[in-house]
Amino acid sequence: MTPGRLLWFLPLVPVLLLAALLWRGLITHDETIPSARVGRPLPLLALPRLDAPQETVDAAAIAARAPVLVNFFASWCGPCRVEHPLLEELAKEDVAIIGIAYKDAADDTRRFLARLGNPFADVLVDADGRALIDFGASGVPESFLVDADGRIVWHQPGPLTPEIIARELEPRLAALKKEEKAR
């Protein structure tokens, strides 16, 4: 075969590359959108505690419990109810979780926690929804994993599922705990 003829086979190369690309895209594609907040410090906030509204908790106080999971929830939110038992399990495994009740009446939040159990180390109140915006979240439930420097390490928009906990949260938690020990 002459080089001229071989040249005609050249278009097969991009075609095969494209096929490989589409194949990879198909098997790895997921619909999650990366959070712009990951890698950034916790927003400066001072939120009142549910039990003692006169006391406020700020970013430093949250980071002090690191590694800590910050979870936005509300008593009126269906997916939060579905997610709740998973948070309970995490709490049993000694994961510090801070709950932020988003646009929820304090009494409703208390009743919700009394009925379903309280996995939270602390419950803060985001009555007007400002904290949710500061976190760059778009609704409830959403969860943020925070390290000892007060940085957001990971963000889950939407409810946690056992798969997500096993695949994404647990390895990161373990890594953070190891780091903590190394200090």
């Binding site: 001229g4 003829r5 005609w8 086979f9 278009p11 097969l12 075609v15 095969l16 494209l18 096929a19 690309l21 589409l22 194949w23 990879r24 895209g25 198909l26 098997i27 790895t28 594609h29 619909e31 959108i33 990366p34």
Partner: protein
Amino acid sequence: MVAEIGHFALALALGLALATIAAAVIGHRPGRDGWLQLVAPLARAGLIAVTIALMALVTGYVTSDFSILNVWQNSHTAKPLLYKITGAWGNHEGSMLLWVWVLQLYAAFVPRTRRLLDLRMRAKVLAVQAAIAAAFLLFILAASNPFLRLDPAPLEGRGLNPLLQDPGLAFHPPLLYLGYVGFSIVYAFAAAALIAGRMDAIVARAMRPFALAAFSALTLGIGLGSWWAYYELGWGGFWFWDPVENASFIPWLAGAALIHSLVVTEKRGALARWTLVLATITFALALLGTFLVRSGVLTSVHAFAVDPRRGLFILAILTAAIVAAFALLAWRAPLLERAAGCRPVSREGAMMLNNVLLAVAAAVVLVGTLYPLALEALTGEKISVGAPYFVTLFGPLAVILLALVVVAPHLRWKRDAAGRLAFLLPRAGLGALAALAAVAAAFGLPGVLAALAIALAGALIASALAEWRRAWPRTQGRRSGLREALRRIPLNRHAYALAHLGLAVTVIGVVAAESFATEKTVLVEPGAGVEVAGRRLVFEGLEPAIGPNYTAVAGLFRLDGPGGPLLDPARRSYWAPPMETTEAAIRPTPLGDIYLAIGARRGDAVELRASFKPLVALIWLGALLMATGGLLALVSRVRLAARRVPAREENAS
């Protein structure tokens, strides 16, 4: 019962497709022409079988037979009849069935080329088409069977996505498929030409009607889809550079190149290899388009019926088909005779340049569409490529292309002198100035690229009119009347003048709507007024309404004071599946559309988005003109083929 008939018909169609291929292969040897005679009837029987399957599915939808899984998933008894019928292809399985039906439909027209192509050639074309059909039929039977049963059968279905319950969208998929799939038959001709080692003016003449039909249908399909997005999605955009839109636009660009290169091959015997390459690429891009729409590999607003597992199957077919196509090209194309070159200043030279520009434009859109996917695969980073990329790169290319279309139709074949086009200069200049002045007077000064595009569109209109003027028949030095002219001007000249006029019209519409649109969002109380495009709207209050499968709240807005027209943008709440849609109210005016959409309510007040979309209707008018031009050219080709070429001996090889 109806599901079993459909299922059986599908299996039969697969058998018939395989038999078509077998008959063509066996008949290939000399002296076995009897087998070749079987190919066309077998292909026709395949069409009948797929038609029965499609009818069976439509029957399942019309009778709301929820024992069929597909019907249960996508239909509902309360759905209007039209959407029950069109709902049959408003889902993955049904749309693949439609795909194959269109494939077989085009095949049924191949025997019509008997005056141009001999029996052997036609058998090759049908065999290639049957191979494509067989692959897709296998896919339908194995991985997306629309006739699977559901036991026990539920009493009610889940309903069709309300966004799809719209007349514009009812006909969008069939037209789009007529376009996409039409390029498969064009490819089948190209493959047959490669196998036979013959690509000449005659083959090009046989291919052209098919390419023109596919291109016209694709133009209409894209236009209809864009129009639907404009009035149904509620924010008045007509093109989003969304991956799935691009997936139809890329083959459209390649198809536009193809219908022009086919002209050169037919008239001058030149560009034969390039035409074959282009036919292969266009087909590959059409398959890629189907894949992108069906697999959900790219995040898109069109993710109506996606399933990644099936994507792998389509990807396999796609890769096999494209690799086979390019391998055939690589193996056989070098054996074709090298055709004569052409001079830069000539009709064919201009068409070559047009092909280069269209190919680059298609590549630009393709790269922008697939870039996020490539980046995610290589680095894991997620981005989306938006309008700025496409406008920045595609815009200038489109402007250069426009300039070319102004000049090219006036060039002569073989060789020409640039100086001869001097007659065009004052006309084109006048057209450009007139268009610019009109737009500037109506809406203000546009930006540089926009101004350039409008000026060139004006020049193009002048050029198309000059085309008619030149073709106008004369008797004894005097121009004849309109009736005489309509009778005597050859149809194909009407065709390309009209198509190019349509291009200019669409360009003006796009540029005006992009550059001069105004929009405001306000919260209006009953009795309050809003100013839009210099006219006054008064909000008269909200009104509930009820439809066959939805409830709605409409805002009533009176234009121009008492007695003026009433506009009623609405929000509809469908209950199966539960979903809200926006129904915009559009009031066309000579200079553009007044476009109203309502959002959230606060007590008696409602959020109103009032926009003015200058000349936006021209976009679709232009698309209609382009498609009409394509169809006229198709008719003229069919007539010509019937008239000029003497019938060939049926069995001569």
